[in-house]
């Protein structure tokens, strides 16, 4: 079964754009939360990651802060 992937990001951050681009290139479906517009999502991101930098990825409950390509590859098996 496909893994559940959530991306917490802002519209303007370059690494957020790149991480989403990377997921799309690899045909990974993901939920895209804009933490700039969505206060609930922002609180959730801070709670899950313990910090305020974007992007944050939640892959089946495993949290990745930043565009850590190696770790994303490993967790998604791509």
């Amino acid at each position: 079964m496909a893994k559940s992937v959530i991306v917490y990001s802002t519209l303007t951050c370059p690494w957020c754009i790149r991480v989403k681009q990377y997921l799309k290139e690899n045909n990974v479906l993901f939920l895209d939360w804009d933490v700039g517009a969505d206060k609930v999502a922002a609180d959730e991101m801070v709670k899950k990651s313990g910090q305020m930098g974007v992007p944050v990825l939640d892959i089946d409950g495993q949290i990745i802060v930043g565009f850590d390509k190696e770790k994303i590859k490993q967790l998604l098996g791509i």
Partner: protein
């Protein structure tokens, strides 16, 4: 170990343009970089890169990347450079992942945000303290924040945050703000910006996240309750990993008109150098000059 003709360090406009030229000269080369796009990726709207009347930083970065892909340029990403040393005719490059050898190198590692160097700065990075208003600004909706700095980048951050944050303290160490008149006027007229000249930050305080900063002027030190700190005090060149090369007082690598450094076979391009004016289009042009310089050097030395 394989000896490359050329290793390009950095993948901003200078490094990427150098790589395109190197590919077209069919050099056996490699690009090593922490990131792609460099400062271009962090730029907002770009209206002075010829050919694009308007393009955003991330979009231009993507165009640069596509251009690299077209030539199948070998790129080592997320790799930090530790040192570059020359022994005999060969450069040895040590990174966070491997060692490499090359006959020529182009240093195009750009600049990075300058740090405040105060207590709490490292601890609260990404816990309320950030160097990128463009990225993290939206997380501070309706909060009280501080922008630290007094030049264009501080004004730019303030302009972005004016629309988002409840209240902004602009903490400037000198007696007046510098920067473009248009931006300055907008900041001065904003109802939610308090400009504090002649003040400097002495510490960042908080628990898990930022709760306050300590600021001081000539006479006293006081605490300001803020939940966000945006550090915009300028840039420093990423030149620390090359020890023996000649640099200027700002730690920029000195180059001549052909982008050569004082070390034979070592070239440099873009914001990491003493080139006058730091612009995306200038960095790109300098990158092409450096690649052609390296090509000529290789030919002259019959490598």
């Amino acid at each position: 170990m394989l000896i490359y003709d050329l290793i390009i360090i950095g993948a901003g406009p200078a490094g990427i343009t150098a790589s395109v030229y190197a590919a077209r000269k069919k050099l056996n080369f490699l690009v090593i970089s922490v990131d792609i796009g460099g400062q271009t990726a962090w730029s907002g709207d770009i209206e002075n890169y010829t050919g694009y009347q308007f393009i955003s930083g991330p979009e231009l970065t993507q165009k640069f990347e596509e251009h690299m892909h077209k030539y199948n340029i070998p790129l080592k990403e997320n790799e930090e450079i530790f040192s570059v040393d020359k022994t005999g005719d060969i450069f040895l490059i040590k990174t966070s992942k491997a060692d490499y050898q090359a006959r020529t190198v182009i240093i195009a590692s750009g600049k990075k945000s300058k740090e405040l160097q105060v207590a709490g700065e490292k601890e609260f990075k990404n816990h309320g303290l950030t160097y990128c208003a463009t990225c993290d600004g939206p997380l501070f909706a309706n909060k009280v924040v501080a922008v630290v700095g007094g030049g264009n980048s501080a004004l730019d951050a303030t302009l972005q945050l004016m629309k988002i944050a409840k209240q902004i303290y602009l903490i400037n160490i000198t007696d007046q703000l510098a920067g473009d008149a248009i931006m300055l006027q907008k900041v001065q007229e904003a109802s939610n910006v308090k400009i504090m000249n002649n003040h400097q930050v002495s510490a960042v305080l908080g628990d898990k996240f930022v709760r306050a900063i300590k600021i001081k002027d000539q006479s006293q030190e006081k605490e300001l309750a803020v939940e966000g700190v945006f550090v915009e005090i300028g840039l420093i060149p990423n030149s620390g990993f090359v020890k023996n090369v000649e640099k200027n007082e700002y730690n920029e690598i000195n180059i001549n008109l052909r982008n050569q450094t004082n070390i034979a076979g070592m070239f440099a391009a873009g914001d990491v150098t003493n080139v006058p004016e730091k612009q995306i289009i200038i960095a790109a042009g300098e990158g092409s000059k450096a690649a052609l310089g390296a090509f000529r050097y290789l030919a002259q030395h019959k490598f």
